[in-house]
């Protein structure tokens, strides 16, 4: 039996919009063609509010709220693109670039990278933070895939797709703060993982060149993620 859905009305960037009560601000914005950047969010995976790029201003709230995990409320007044937000988003992207070694010109994902495209789109022309240049390993022990920690932004899309869609939970995050890293099983080389099914979903949801197919050269690694909404629909039986 179909449950009745309640509708909420709110204002986003001075536009009146309607939404189902179970929707998040990010969903409503995207439905209405309002652009909000996000790197950890991916349709079909549980939102975690980790990348902070989707922060929006909500009237009456002193804090900025992440749109991906904020539910709509009746009468909400939301601003998605104020100068303050634009500045913060550029700073967040700059921090991503400074934290690890993102060198687009030699990256297999050059031209197909969400981090790179967002930086271009939001006008990041300088990084105002000193680069950390950490020495991080590249694990090419898997037959078909490679994990390059230098390009990882810890969005945890791989962790979530592996757990929620594939059901293997090979990936997780170890350590904390600046030392955090994605791992397979007990921090073993990926090729020795007992739980990995080699399905490749992690590779295709990865927003950057951190998870890639083996044998790709510079700029050759375009991700394919048409499968994800379909798999999610099947799993939730919503069809």
């Amino acid at each position: 039996m179909r449950q009745s859905v309640r509708v909420k009305t709110l204002k986003i960037d001075d536009r009146d919009v309607g939404a189902r009560e179970d929707q998040t601000l990010l969903e409503v914005c995207r439905e209405n063609g309002i652009f909000i950047p996000a790197l950890c969010h991916l349709d079909g995976l549980t939102p975690v509010g980790a990348c902070r790029l989707c922060l929006v201003e909500v009237k009456g709230q002193r804090r900025l709220l992440p749109a991906c995990v904020t539910r709509v409320e009746e009468g909400m007044e939301v601003n998605t693109a104020t100068e303050r937000l634009k500045k913060y988003r550029r700073q967040i992207l700059e921090l991503f670039f400074s934290e690890r070694n993102h060198i687009c010109s030699v990256c297999v994902s050059n031209g197909h990278c969400e981090l790179q495209s967002l930086a271009q789109q939001l006008g990041v022309d300088h990084v105002h933070f000193p680069y950390r240049y950490p020495r991080l390993p590249v694990d090419a022990s898997h037959d078909r895939f490679v994990i390059d920690h230098n390009r990882c932004i810890l969005c945890t899309r791989c962790v979530r797709v592996c757990d929620e869609i594939e059901g293997a939970h090979t990936w997780d995050v170890m350590g904390r703060g600046i030392n955090a890293r994605v791992i397979t099983d007990l921090n073993k080389p990926w090729g020795e993982s007992e739980s990995c099914t080699s399905c490749g979903k992690c590779v295709h949801v990865c927003p950057t060149g951190a998870l890639v197919e083996k044998g790709r050269s510079v700029a050759e690694m375009a991700k394919r993620r048409q499968f994800l909404p379909y798999l999610t629909l099947m799993r939730e039986g919503k069809q």
Partner: protein
């Protein structure tokens, strides 16, 4: 070495308290850490994962996130010396230097550098033990000691050195 039947039973008991077994990860790791003499080798994490039927990568992630799970062997007693603001203003720095000289160790967060040659103590610096009213303070095993002075620390550690380790048990 592996977990005793008693420890396995304890982990099962804890897991039964939660709607989802994965929620028992932290207390189960504490049980395992006490079994393995105060630290968590990878075998211990695998056993916890098996016992709880949760992914090993999750257990490893939790164990490496929390600083109170030790990933290498520690001394018989772990001393957590607070070096945060309130304690520092009340003399924690002097205590730190005193212990470093006394035991010929470095209190820098590394377990290897902070463990005494005879393996009696591992001294680690920590950020706030939530006992600022009794600054400077430290925890030895599971016990708080406050309003410390060099003489007091020496006395406490001499007494504890010969006593058995007390592990936190959930």
């Amino acid at each position: 070495m592996s977990l005793s039947d008693e420890a396995r039973q304890k982990i099962q008991e804890i897991a039964a308290r939660y709607p989802r077994r994965i929620s028992a990860t932290i207390p189960a790791l504490y049980v395992a850490q006490a079994e393995y003499g105060g630290w968590l080798p990878k075998e211990a994490m695998v056993e916890v994962a098996e016992e709880l039927d949760v992914p090993p990568s999750h257990v490893f992630g939790v164990a490496t996130f929390y600083t109170l799970f030790y990933k290498e062997p520690v001394g018989k007693h772990v001393v957590q010396l607070c070096t945060n603001l309130a304690c520092m203003l009340c003399g924690a720095e002097t205590l730190q230097q005193h212990l470093e000289r006394k035991f010929n160790i470095k209190i820098n967060g590394s377990i290897r550098d902070g463990t005494t040659a005879d393996g009696t103590f591992t001294v680690l610096p920590v950020e706030c033990l939530a006992a600022c009213g009794g600054a400077p303070c430290m925890i030895v095993d599971t016990e708080y000691y406050e309003n410390l002075t060099i003489e007091k620390v020496d006395k406490i550690l001499t007494q504890i050195a010969t006593q058995p380790t007390v592990f936190f048990k959930p």
